[in-house]
């Protein structure tokens, strides 16, 4: 059972299978095949996306319009939704446009592949540099405020009694953990929240390096709401 991203992709597949030109499609035939496919999906208990159903209704309407030429399409279309297809010519037009952008996508894929064969120096590769764009996003002195916050945290920690260091996480584990934690806070999270459970010095450093690495990889942004204010970490959700 092939999977189609949208109704146009499915229609296209059906037209290609029937080996007819887009301009000469038989609406009754294509509608029957289209509905048969949706029926099969239902039989397999697969979800049918609403776009497919809308297209099914449109096809049925176009078919009946052909039988009853006097019928007009309904004009009450909501502002933020795509207008419905109201004639066979329009359907053909849409299919042609869809095909056009399929070829555009192919061209872009070629460009992408060609570009994948060309390598530039990776940001921060040579010396451990922080991404300038990440630093910009972090606001003036984003990294330096991260550093000073970190040092404060460490000095506060030194005032506490030492703990036995157990099951330390690696930086990459910590990165995953931080990302997971930030995922639940779309507006950002106070930097100190990441160090709540009175961690060992190693854990603080691991978390800190995890943050630096995440900034470098543009996975998160760090900024201050005002000078000497709270340090906020936010996930960039790629």
């Amino acid at each position: 059972m092939p999977v189609f991203e949208g109704p146009f992709a499915l229609l296209f597949h059906l037209i290609e299978q029937a080996e007819v030109d887009i301009c000469n499609i038989q609406i009754a035939e294509i509608t029957a095949q289209y509905l048969a496919y949706l029926h099969e999906l239902r039989e397999l208990n697969l979800d049918v996306a609403v776009e497919f159903l809308v297209m099914a209704a449109t096809l049925l309407k176009l078919k009946s319009k052909k039988l009853l030429p006097g019928m007009k399409p309904s004009a009450d279309e909501a502002e933020e939704t795509a207008p419905l297809i109201s004639s066979e010519e329009e359907l053909v037009q849409r299919l042609l446009e869809y095909r056009y952008f399929q070829t555009v996508a192919k061209e872009l894929r070629l460009c992408e592949q060609e570009q994948k064969r060309v390598f530039v120096r990776s940001p921060g590769g040579k010396t451990m540099l922080v991404n300038p764009s990440a630093a910009e996003a972090a606001g003036a002195g984003g990294l330096s405020c991260l550093l000073s916050a970190f040092q404060q945290l460490l000095s506060r920690h030194e005032a506490l009694p030492r703990e036995v260091e157990t099951d330390e996480l690696s930086v990459s584990d910590k990165m995953k953990q931080v990302l997971k934690k930030l995922a639940g806070h779309r507006d950002g999270l106070d930097f100190r929240e990441l160090f709540l459970e009175r961690p060992s010095v190693t854990a603080i450093i691991v978390t800190f390096f995890a943050l630096l690495e995440l900034i470098r990889r543009r996975k998160i942004s760090v900024w201050q709401d005002r000078p000497f204010g709270l340090l906020i970490c936010k996930r960039n959700a790629f």
């Binding site: 991203e5 146009f8 502002e79 795509a82 070829t103 555009v104 996508a105 390598f119 120096r121 790629f238």
Partner: protein, 168 residues
């Protein structure tokens, strides 16, 4: 140091394509001289005994390896480079690039699918950006492509967009 070697060093250090005027600003040279030297540099690197090239992409200049070195250089680079865009993302990006500025609905009309998730991905990857709002009821957001889009696909500017074979 002369301007040409200086430009070579600057391009080496830059992390993204640098426009000529930005290079002029950094080096303190005239934009015209910068362009002239960059062209010489570009030609020198074209020689077959050189492994790098001065690319002219995203309205800037960038030093990069030649495609012929890909198979070898690949072994050194991180896996991220192998990540490619999904078909849906490419189609949506194609519509935005060729028809910009476009609204969400414009894209939906062409693709037959709501583009919400894909638009988010493209925005996050900085391939597209909000360029304004359309002057119709509801004032929907208009999207356009970015320099990062040009850079990713190795295009100099929008006029370089390849024309698809059939125009439908």
């Amino acid at each position: 140091m002369d301007l040409k070697p200086l430009l070579e060093a600057v391009l080496f250090v830059a992390e993204e394509p640098l426009p000529a005027d930005k290079i002029a600003e950094i080096t303190g040279a005239a934009v015209r001289d910068v362009r002239f030297c960059l062209e010489i540099l570009q030609r020198e690197y074209q020689a077959s005994d050189r492994g790098l090239q001065v690319m002219n992409i995203a309205r800037g200049y960038q030093l990069a390896t030649k495609p012929e070195a890909a198979a070898t250089v690949e072994k050194l680079s991180r896996e991220e480079n192998r990540y490619t865009l999904s078909q849906a993302a490419l189609e949506t990006l194609g519509i935005i690039a060729w028809r910009q500025p476009v609204t969400r609905v414009d894209i939906e009309v062409i693709r037959g699918v709501k583009p919400d998730g894909v638009l988010d991905t493209l925005l996050k990857r900085r391939f597209i950006r909000v360029v304004g709002r359309k002057d119709v009821p509801g004032r929907p957001i208009l999207y356009g492509t970015t320099r990062e889009f040009l850079r990713y696909f190795g295009l100099k500017d929008l006029s370089e967009l390849p024309a698809p074979a059939t125009k439908g």
